[in-house]
Symmetry: C2
Protein backbone atom coordinates (compact mmCIF):
# COMPACT_ATOMS: atom_id res chain seq x y z
CA UNK A 1 0.00 0.00 0.00
CA UNK A 2 1.25 3.49 -0.81
CA UNK A 3 0.09 6.49 1.17
CA UNK A 4 0.47 10.24 0.74
CA UNK A 5 -0.02 12.61 3.64
CA UNK A 6 -1.45 16.11 3.44
CA UNK A 7 -0.55 17.98 6.60
CA UNK A 8 2.38 17.87 8.99
CA UNK A 9 0.86 18.72 12.36
CA UNK A 10 0.61 16.54 15.45
CA UNK A 11 -1.86 14.04 14.04
CA UNK A 12 -0.12 13.81 10.66
CA UNK A 13 3.23 13.31 12.37
CA UNK A 14 2.07 10.55 14.68
CA UNK A 15 0.16 8.84 11.88
CA UNK A 16 3.12 9.00 9.54
CA UNK A 17 5.48 7.54 12.16
CA UNK A 18 3.03 4.76 12.92
CA UNK A 19 2.69 4.00 9.21
CA UNK A 20 6.47 3.85 8.86
CA UNK A 21 6.68 1.52 11.85
CA UNK A 22 4.07 -0.69 10.19
CA UNK A 23 6.13 -0.78 6.99
CA UNK A 24 3.56 1.15 4.98
CA UNK A 25 5.19 3.18 2.24
CA UNK A 26 4.69 6.93 2.58
CA UNK A 27 5.38 8.47 -0.82
CA UNK A 28 4.93 12.15 -0.10
CA UNK A 29 4.15 14.72 2.56
CA UNK A 30 2.64 18.12 1.84
CA UNK A 31 2.09 21.01 4.23
CA UNK A 32 1.19 24.69 3.95
CA UNK A 33 4.71 25.34 5.12
CA UNK A 34 7.21 23.39 3.05
CA UNK A 35 9.68 23.36 5.96
CA UNK A 36 7.20 21.38 8.05
CA UNK A 37 6.54 18.95 5.22
CA UNK A 38 10.29 18.46 4.82
CA UNK A 39 10.79 17.91 8.54
CA UNK A 40 8.19 15.16 8.63
CA UNK A 41 9.05 13.66 5.23
CA UNK A 42 12.68 13.23 6.28
CA UNK A 43 11.61 11.27 9.34
CA UNK A 44 9.46 8.82 7.39
CA UNK A 45 11.55 8.33 4.24
CA UNK A 46 9.08 10.31 2.13
CA UNK A 47 9.40 13.19 -0.32
CA UNK A 48 8.24 16.62 0.74
CA UNK A 49 6.23 18.44 -1.90
CA UNK A 50 5.52 22.14 -2.21
CA UNK A 51 2.52 21.93 -4.47
CA UNK A 52 -0.48 19.64 -4.27
CA UNK A 53 -0.50 19.51 -8.09
CA UNK A 54 2.46 17.12 -8.00
CA UNK A 55 0.79 14.73 -5.56
CA UNK A 56 1.50 11.14 -6.55
CA UNK A 57 -1.66 10.08 -8.38
CA UNK A 58 -0.75 6.40 -8.10
CA UNK A 59 -0.95 6.36 -4.29
CA UNK A 60 -3.65 4.14 -2.80
CA UNK A 61 -4.66 6.47 0.01
CA UNK A 62 -4.35 10.19 0.63
CA UNK A 63 -4.73 11.12 4.30
CA UNK A 64 -5.78 14.72 4.87
CA UNK A 65 -4.71 15.80 8.31
CA UNK A 66 -5.09 19.57 8.39
CA UNK A 67 -7.20 21.99 10.42
CA UNK A 68 -10.92 21.23 10.26
CA UNK A 69 -11.87 24.31 8.29
CA UNK A 70 -9.15 23.72 5.70
CA UNK A 71 -10.27 20.21 4.72
CA UNK A 72 -12.90 21.31 2.18
CA UNK A 73 -10.51 23.53 0.27
CA UNK A 74 -7.78 20.88 0.18
CA UNK A 75 -10.28 18.26 -0.97
CA UNK A 76 -11.28 20.43 -3.92
CA UNK A 77 -7.69 20.46 -5.12
CA UNK A 78 -7.58 16.66 -4.98
CA UNK A 79 -10.67 15.80 -7.00
CA UNK A 80 -8.60 14.09 -9.71
CA UNK A 81 -6.79 11.89 -7.15
CA UNK A 82 -7.50 8.29 -8.17
CA UNK A 83 -7.12 6.53 -4.82
CA UNK A 84 -9.04 6.89 -1.59
CA UNK A 85 -9.15 10.26 0.13
CA UNK A 86 -9.71 10.31 3.89
CA UNK A 87 -9.59 13.03 6.49
CA UNK A 88 -8.57 12.45 10.10
CA UNK A 89 -10.89 14.86 11.90
CA UNK A 90 -13.25 13.96 14.73
CA UNK A 91 -15.82 16.62 14.03
CA UNK A 92 -15.96 17.09 10.25
CA UNK A 93 -18.62 15.24 8.25
CA UNK A 94 -17.53 12.69 5.66
CA UNK A 95 -19.52 14.67 3.04
CA UNK A 96 -16.86 17.34 2.89
CA UNK A 97 -14.99 14.91 0.61
CA UNK A 98 -17.94 14.00 -1.60
CA UNK A 99 -16.40 15.66 -4.66
CA UNK A 100 -14.12 12.61 -4.89
CA UNK A 101 -15.12 9.13 -6.05
CA UNK A 102 -13.78 7.17 -3.08
CA UNK A 103 -13.55 8.85 0.25
CA UNK A 104 -13.73 8.28 3.95
CA UNK A 105 -12.65 9.16 7.46
CA UNK A 106 -9.68 7.84 9.39
CA UNK A 107 -10.03 9.36 12.86
CA UNK A 108 -7.61 8.38 15.63
CA UNK A 109 -9.34 9.03 18.97
CA UNK A 110 -6.30 10.20 20.88
CA UNK A 111 -4.51 13.36 21.99
CA UNK A 112 -1.20 13.86 20.22
CA UNK A 113 1.72 16.03 21.23
CA UNK A 114 4.58 16.64 18.88
CA UNK A 115 7.26 15.80 21.43
CA UNK A 116 5.68 12.81 23.11
CA UNK A 117 5.87 9.34 21.63
CA UNK A 118 2.94 6.99 22.09
CA UNK A 119 2.03 3.49 21.11
CA UNK A 120 -0.43 3.60 18.24
CA UNK A 121 -1.51 0.00 18.75
CA UNK A 122 -4.04 0.94 21.43
CA UNK A 123 -5.39 4.06 19.72
CA UNK A 124 -9.01 3.56 18.60
CA UNK A 125 -9.19 4.22 14.85
CA UNK A 126 -12.64 5.30 13.75
CA UNK A 127 -13.33 4.46 10.14
CA UNK A 128 -16.06 5.57 7.77
CA UNK A 129 -16.29 5.35 3.97
CA UNK A 130 -18.65 6.14 1.12
CA UNK A 131 -18.55 2.63 -0.31
CA UNK A 132 -17.55 -0.85 0.72
CA UNK A 133 -14.30 -1.14 -1.26
CA UNK A 134 -13.09 2.10 0.28
CA UNK A 135 -14.15 0.91 3.73
CA UNK A 136 -12.20 -2.31 3.31
CA UNK A 137 -9.09 -0.45 2.17
CA UNK A 138 -9.21 2.00 5.09
CA UNK A 139 -9.84 -0.87 7.50
CA UNK A 140 -6.87 -2.76 6.10
CA UNK A 141 -4.65 0.25 6.67
CA UNK A 142 -6.11 0.84 10.13
CA UNK A 143 -5.55 -2.76 11.18
CA UNK A 144 -1.87 -2.37 10.39
CA UNK A 145 -1.62 0.46 12.92
CA UNK A 146 -4.01 -0.40 15.71
CA UNK A 147 -5.66 -3.31 17.49
CA UNK A 148 -8.77 -1.25 17.83
CA UNK A 149 -10.50 -0.38 14.60
CA UNK A 150 -14.10 0.80 14.84
CA UNK A 151 -16.56 1.48 12.07
CA UNK A 152 -18.49 4.58 13.00
CA UNK A 153 -20.60 7.08 11.08
CA UNK A 154 -20.16 10.86 11.02
CA UNK A 155 -22.94 11.57 13.54
CA UNK A 156 -21.57 9.17 16.14
CA UNK A 157 -18.02 10.31 15.47
CA UNK A 158 -19.06 13.84 16.37
CA UNK A 159 -20.45 12.54 19.65
CA UNK A 160 -17.18 10.70 20.31
CA UNK A 161 -15.29 13.90 19.63
CA UNK A 162 -17.53 15.81 22.04
CA UNK A 163 -17.07 13.16 24.72
CA UNK A 164 -13.33 13.37 24.14
CA UNK A 165 -13.47 17.09 24.90
CA UNK A 166 -14.92 16.24 28.33
CA UNK A 167 -12.53 13.35 28.98
CA UNK A 168 -9.37 14.98 27.66
CA UNK A 169 -9.49 18.75 27.09
CA UNK A 170 -11.63 19.53 30.14
CA UNK A 171 -9.73 17.07 32.29
CA UNK A 172 -6.45 18.71 31.33
CA UNK A 173 -7.97 22.07 32.22
CA UNK A 174 -8.74 20.75 35.69
CA UNK A 175 -5.12 19.70 36.02
CA UNK A 176 -4.29 23.32 35.13
CA UNK A 177 -6.76 24.66 37.70
CA UNK A 178 -5.18 22.38 40.33
CA UNK A 179 -1.83 23.89 39.40
CA UNK A 180 -3.35 27.36 39.81
CA UNK A 181 -4.50 26.45 43.33
CA UNK A 182 -1.04 25.19 44.21
CA UNK A 183 1.03 28.02 42.74
CA UNK A 184 -1.09 30.61 44.57
CA UNK A 185 0.33 29.01 47.72
CA UNK A 186 3.89 28.36 46.52
CA UNK A 187 3.32 24.65 46.07
CA UNK A 188 4.45 22.69 43.03
CA UNK A 189 2.33 20.78 40.55
CA UNK A 190 4.70 17.83 40.59
CA UNK A 191 3.30 16.45 43.84
CA UNK A 192 -0.05 15.80 42.09
CA UNK A 193 1.38 13.70 39.28
CA UNK A 194 1.04 10.26 40.93
CA UNK A 195 -2.56 11.12 41.85
CA UNK A 196 -3.35 12.09 38.26
CA UNK A 197 -1.88 8.84 36.96
CA UNK A 198 -3.88 6.76 39.42
CA UNK A 199 -7.13 8.67 38.74
CA UNK A 200 -6.83 7.76 35.06
CA UNK A 201 -5.75 4.21 35.91
CA UNK A 202 -8.83 3.63 38.07
CA UNK A 203 -11.27 4.09 35.20
CA UNK A 204 -9.41 1.64 32.98
CA UNK A 205 -11.16 -1.21 34.76
CA UNK A 206 -14.13 0.59 36.29
CA UNK A 207 -16.75 3.06 35.14
CA UNK A 208 -16.10 6.56 36.50
CA UNK A 209 -19.46 6.84 38.31
CA UNK A 210 -18.56 3.81 40.42
CA UNK A 211 -15.19 5.18 41.57
CA UNK A 212 -16.12 8.79 42.29
CA UNK A 213 -14.52 10.01 45.51
CA UNK A 214 -14.20 13.36 47.29
CA UNK A 215 -16.29 15.63 49.49
CA UNK A 216 -19.09 16.29 46.98
CA UNK A 217 -20.05 12.64 46.44
CA UNK A 218 -19.91 12.07 50.23
CA UNK A 219 -22.07 15.16 50.71
CA UNK A 220 -19.41 16.31 53.16
CA UNK A 221 -20.66 19.88 53.58
CA UNK A 222 -18.02 20.74 56.14
CA UNK A 223 -15.13 20.04 53.76
CA UNK A 224 -16.94 21.68 50.83
CA UNK A 225 -17.33 24.82 52.94
CA UNK A 226 -13.68 24.78 54.01
CA UNK A 227 -12.60 24.46 50.38
CA UNK A 228 -14.84 27.32 49.33
CA UNK A 229 -13.28 29.50 52.01
CA UNK A 230 -9.81 28.65 50.73
CA UNK A 231 -10.88 29.87 47.28
CA UNK A 232 -12.27 33.24 48.34
CA UNK A 233 -9.28 35.01 46.78
CA UNK A 234 -9.73 33.12 43.50
CA UNK A 235 -13.37 33.80 42.53
CA UNK A 236 -13.19 32.01 39.16
CA UNK A 237 -11.90 28.86 40.81
CA UNK A 238 -14.54 29.22 43.51
CA UNK A 239 -17.32 29.41 40.94
CA UNK A 240 -16.06 26.30 39.15
CA UNK A 241 -15.57 24.48 42.44
CA UNK A 242 -19.23 25.08 43.34
CA UNK A 243 -20.63 24.19 39.94
CA UNK A 244 -18.69 20.94 39.59
CA UNK A 245 -19.42 19.93 43.19
CA UNK A 246 -23.15 20.46 42.56
CA UNK A 247 -22.85 18.41 39.39
CA UNK A 248 -21.18 15.58 41.32
CA UNK A 249 -23.88 15.68 44.01
CA UNK A 250 -26.51 15.11 41.33
CA UNK A 251 -24.87 11.78 40.46
CA UNK A 252 -25.32 10.45 43.99
CA UNK B 1 8.94 -0.36 64.75
CA UNK B 2 5.49 -1.48 65.85
CA UNK B 3 2.36 0.15 64.47
CA UNK B 4 -1.32 -0.04 65.39
CA UNK B 5 -3.99 1.01 62.93
CA UNK B 6 -7.29 2.63 63.81
CA UNK B 7 -9.61 2.33 60.85
CA UNK B 8 -10.11 -0.25 58.11
CA UNK B 9 -11.24 1.78 55.11
CA UNK B 10 -9.46 2.32 51.81
CA UNK B 11 -6.60 4.40 53.17
CA UNK B 12 -6.08 2.18 56.22
CA UNK B 13 -6.11 -0.93 54.04
CA UNK B 14 -3.58 0.37 51.53
CA UNK B 15 -1.35 1.75 54.28
CA UNK B 16 -1.46 -1.51 56.23
CA UNK B 17 -0.57 -3.56 53.14
CA UNK B 18 2.29 -1.20 52.31
CA UNK B 19 3.56 -1.46 55.89
CA UNK B 20 3.41 -5.24 55.72
CA UNK B 21 5.31 -5.20 52.44
CA UNK B 22 7.95 -2.99 54.10
CA UNK B 23 8.27 -5.49 56.96
CA UNK B 24 6.84 -3.11 59.53
CA UNK B 25 5.06 -4.98 62.30
CA UNK B 26 1.35 -4.18 62.57
CA UNK B 27 0.21 -5.23 66.03
CA UNK B 28 -3.48 -4.44 65.89
CA UNK B 29 -6.29 -3.13 63.73
CA UNK B 30 -9.43 -1.50 65.12
CA UNK B 31 -12.55 -0.43 63.25
CA UNK B 32 -16.07 0.69 64.16
CA UNK B 33 -17.16 -2.58 62.67
CA UNK B 34 -15.19 -5.48 64.09
CA UNK B 35 -15.75 -7.51 60.92
CA UNK B 36 -13.86 -4.90 58.89
CA UNK B 37 -11.04 -4.82 61.43
CA UNK B 38 -10.82 -8.61 61.26
CA UNK B 39 -10.81 -8.60 57.46
CA UNK B 40 -7.88 -6.21 57.32
CA UNK B 41 -6.02 -7.65 60.34
CA UNK B 42 -6.05 -11.11 58.78
CA UNK B 43 -4.42 -9.76 55.64
CA UNK B 44 -1.57 -8.07 57.48
CA UNK B 45 -0.85 -10.62 60.23
CA UNK B 46 -2.32 -8.34 62.91
CA UNK B 47 -4.87 -8.83 65.67
CA UNK B 48 -8.29 -7.27 65.26
CA UNK B 49 -9.58 -5.56 68.39
CA UNK B 50 -13.13 -4.64 69.30
CA UNK B 51 -12.39 -2.01 71.90
CA UNK B 52 -9.88 0.84 71.74
CA UNK B 53 -9.24 0.33 75.49
CA UNK B 54 -7.16 -2.76 74.66
CA UNK B 55 -4.98 -0.92 72.15
CA UNK B 56 -1.34 -2.02 72.53
CA UNK B 57 0.21 0.78 74.59
CA UNK B 58 3.73 -0.33 73.68
CA UNK B 59 3.30 0.39 69.97
CA UNK B 60 5.51 3.12 68.52
CA UNK B 61 2.94 4.66 66.24
CA UNK B 62 -0.83 4.70 66.11
CA UNK B 63 -2.20 5.65 62.70
CA UNK B 64 -5.74 7.00 62.78
CA UNK B 65 -7.36 6.51 59.41
CA UNK B 66 -11.06 7.15 59.93
CA UNK B 67 -13.54 9.69 58.56
CA UNK B 68 -12.44 13.29 59.07
CA UNK B 69 -15.13 14.17 61.57
CA UNK B 70 -14.45 11.06 63.68
CA UNK B 71 -10.76 11.80 64.29
CA UNK B 72 -11.29 14.12 67.29
CA UNK B 73 -13.44 11.65 69.14
CA UNK B 74 -11.03 8.75 68.52
CA UNK B 75 -8.09 10.88 69.61
CA UNK B 76 -9.76 11.61 72.92
CA UNK B 77 -9.94 7.89 73.65
CA UNK B 78 -6.22 7.55 72.95
CA UNK B 79 -4.83 10.25 75.23
CA UNK B 80 -2.95 7.71 77.35
CA UNK B 81 -1.28 6.14 74.30
CA UNK B 82 2.46 6.45 74.90
CA UNK B 83 3.72 6.42 71.31
CA UNK B 84 3.11 8.79 68.43
CA UNK B 85 -0.43 9.37 67.25
CA UNK B 86 -0.91 10.46 63.65
CA UNK B 87 -3.96 10.89 61.44
CA UNK B 88 -3.95 10.35 57.68
CA UNK B 89 -6.37 13.07 56.56
CA UNK B 90 -5.66 15.74 53.98
CA UNK B 91 -7.96 18.36 55.37
CA UNK B 92 -7.92 18.00 59.18
CA UNK B 93 -5.60 20.21 61.21
CA UNK B 94 -2.84 18.60 63.24
CA UNK B 95 -4.27 20.32 66.34
CA UNK B 96 -7.12 17.85 66.52
CA UNK B 97 -4.58 15.52 68.18
CA UNK B 98 -3.14 18.07 70.62
CA UNK B 99 -4.50 16.25 73.65
CA UNK B 100 -1.67 13.75 73.14
CA UNK B 101 2.00 14.35 73.92
CA UNK B 102 3.45 13.31 70.57
CA UNK B 103 1.33 13.64 67.48
CA UNK B 104 1.42 14.30 63.81
CA UNK B 105 -0.01 13.79 60.34
CA UNK B 106 0.79 11.04 57.87
CA UNK B 107 -1.15 11.97 54.72
CA UNK B 108 -0.75 9.92 51.56
CA UNK B 109 -1.67 12.14 48.60
CA UNK B 110 -3.34 9.50 46.49
CA UNK B 111 -6.76 8.10 45.61
CA UNK B 112 -7.30 4.60 46.98
CA UNK B 113 -9.84 2.02 45.91
CA UNK B 114 -10.36 -1.10 47.92
CA UNK B 115 -10.11 -3.43 44.96
CA UNK B 116 -7.22 -1.84 43.10
CA UNK B 117 -3.63 -2.48 44.05
CA UNK B 118 -1.12 0.33 43.64
CA UNK B 119 2.54 0.85 44.22
CA UNK B 120 3.02 2.87 47.38
CA UNK B 121 6.61 3.78 46.52
CA UNK B 122 5.55 6.73 44.34
CA UNK B 123 2.80 8.03 46.65
CA UNK B 124 3.74 11.41 48.15
CA UNK B 125 3.60 11.08 51.94
CA UNK B 126 2.98 14.42 53.62
CA UNK B 127 4.35 14.53 57.14
CA UNK B 128 3.80 16.97 59.99
CA UNK B 129 4.52 16.64 63.71
CA UNK B 130 4.31 18.63 66.93
CA UNK B 131 7.97 18.07 67.83
CA UNK B 132 11.19 17.01 66.18
CA UNK B 133 11.46 13.52 67.67
CA UNK B 134 7.95 12.75 66.45
CA UNK B 135 8.76 14.21 63.04
CA UNK B 136 11.83 12.00 62.73
CA UNK B 137 9.88 8.89 63.72
CA UNK B 138 7.09 9.59 61.20
CA UNK B 139 9.67 10.35 58.53
CA UNK B 140 11.45 7.10 59.24
CA UNK B 141 8.21 5.20 58.82
CA UNK B 142 7.30 7.16 55.69
CA UNK B 143 10.67 6.51 54.09
CA UNK B 144 10.08 2.79 54.43
CA UNK B 145 6.93 3.10 52.32
CA UNK B 146 7.62 5.79 49.76
CA UNK B 147 10.40 7.48 47.84
CA UNK B 148 8.58 10.74 48.18
CA UNK B 149 8.29 12.04 51.72
CA UNK B 150 7.41 15.72 52.11
CA UNK B 151 7.30 17.81 55.26
CA UNK B 152 4.29 20.04 55.02
CA UNK B 153 2.25 22.05 57.54
CA UNK B 154 -1.52 21.85 58.04
CA UNK B 155 -2.31 25.00 56.06
CA UNK B 156 -0.41 23.85 52.98
CA UNK B 157 -1.75 20.33 53.36
CA UNK B 158 -5.27 21.72 53.10
CA UNK B 159 -4.29 23.46 49.86
CA UNK B 160 -2.86 20.20 48.54
CA UNK B 161 -6.08 18.46 49.41
CA UNK B 162 -8.09 21.13 47.62
CA UNK B 163 -5.86 20.88 44.54
CA UNK B 164 -6.32 17.12 44.66
CA UNK B 165 -10.08 17.62 44.44
CA UNK B 166 -9.57 19.47 41.15
CA UNK B 167 -7.00 17.01 39.79
CA UNK B 168 -8.71 13.82 40.90
CA UNK B 169 -12.34 14.10 42.01
CA UNK B 170 -13.34 16.70 39.42
CA UNK B 171 -11.36 14.97 36.71
CA UNK B 172 -13.12 11.70 37.44
CA UNK B 173 -16.44 13.55 37.25
CA UNK B 174 -15.52 14.72 33.75
CA UNK B 175 -14.84 11.12 32.80
CA UNK B 176 -18.37 10.43 34.09
CA UNK B 177 -19.81 13.31 32.08
CA UNK B 178 -18.05 11.97 28.98
CA UNK B 179 -19.71 8.64 29.66
CA UNK B 180 -23.06 10.43 29.95
CA UNK B 181 -22.53 12.01 26.53
CA UNK B 182 -21.69 8.63 25.03
CA UNK B 183 -24.47 6.57 26.59
CA UNK B 184 -27.08 9.09 25.44
CA UNK B 185 -26.03 8.03 21.94
CA UNK B 186 -25.54 4.29 22.56
CA UNK B 187 -21.77 4.55 22.55
CA UNK B 188 -19.53 2.88 25.11
CA UNK B 189 -17.15 4.49 27.54
CA UNK B 190 -14.43 1.95 26.79
CA UNK B 191 -13.39 3.71 23.58
CA UNK B 192 -12.23 6.73 25.64
CA UNK B 193 -9.89 4.79 27.92
CA UNK B 194 -6.68 5.12 25.85
CA UNK B 195 -7.34 8.87 25.54
CA UNK B 196 -7.77 9.20 29.30
CA UNK B 197 -4.52 7.35 29.92
CA UNK B 198 -2.62 9.54 27.48
CA UNK B 199 -4.13 12.78 28.84
CA UNK B 200 -2.78 11.90 32.28
CA UNK B 201 0.53 10.72 30.82
CA UNK B 202 1.08 14.02 29.00
CA UNK B 203 1.22 16.05 32.21
CA UNK B 204 3.76 13.73 33.80
CA UNK B 205 6.50 15.53 31.86
CA UNK B 206 4.78 18.80 31.02
CA UNK B 207 2.71 21.39 32.85
CA UNK B 208 -0.99 21.18 31.92
CA UNK B 209 -1.21 24.75 30.63
CA UNK B 210 1.42 23.97 28.01
CA UNK B 211 -0.36 20.90 26.63
CA UNK B 212 -3.94 22.15 26.57
CA UNK B 213 -5.71 21.13 23.37
CA UNK B 214 -9.27 21.27 22.05
CA UNK B 215 -11.63 23.80 20.48
CA UNK B 216 -11.71 26.25 23.42
CA UNK B 217 -7.96 26.87 23.56
CA UNK B 218 -7.91 27.24 19.76
CA UNK B 219 -10.83 29.67 19.99
CA UNK B 220 -12.51 27.44 17.41
CA UNK B 221 -15.98 28.99 17.66
CA UNK B 222 -17.40 26.80 14.93
CA UNK B 223 -16.66 23.56 16.77
CA UNK B 224 -17.72 25.03 20.12
CA UNK B 225 -21.05 25.94 18.56
CA UNK B 226 -21.49 22.49 17.02
CA UNK B 227 -20.79 20.87 20.38
CA UNK B 228 -23.28 23.12 22.13
CA UNK B 229 -25.92 22.11 19.59
CA UNK B 230 -25.21 18.45 20.27
CA UNK B 231 -25.86 19.08 23.98
CA UNK B 232 -29.22 20.84 23.60
CA UNK B 233 -31.02 17.78 24.98
CA UNK B 234 -28.70 17.64 28.01
CA UNK B 235 -28.94 21.13 29.53
CA UNK B 236 -26.72 20.37 32.56
CA UNK B 237 -23.94 19.12 30.32
CA UNK B 238 -24.42 22.12 28.06
CA UNK B 239 -24.02 24.53 30.98
CA UNK B 240 -20.84 22.83 32.14
CA UNK B 241 -19.52 22.69 28.58
CA UNK B 242 -19.92 26.45 28.25
CA UNK B 243 -18.46 27.31 31.65
CA UNK B 244 -15.38 25.13 31.27
CA UNK B 245 -14.79 26.28 27.70
CA UNK B 246 -14.92 29.91 28.89
CA UNK B 247 -12.49 29.04 31.67
CA UNK B 248 -10.10 27.47 29.16
CA UNK B 249 -10.31 30.52 26.88
CA UNK B 250 -9.16 32.69 29.78
CA UNK B 251 -5.91 30.73 29.94
CA UNK B 252 -5.01 31.59 26.33
Amino acid sequence: MKVVIVGAGNVATHLAKALLAANVQIAQVWSYHYANAKLLADQVHATAIENLAVLDKTADICLISVKDDAIAEIAQQLIDFKGVIAHTSGSVNIDVLSGSANYGVFYPLQTFSKDKELSFSTVPLCIEANNDITLQLLKKLANQLSNRVVEIDSEKRKILHLAAVFACNFTNHFYALAEEVLTAHQLEFDILRPLITETAAKVQQSLPLTVQTGPAIRNDEQTLKKHEELLLQQPQLLEIYKIVSESIKKTR
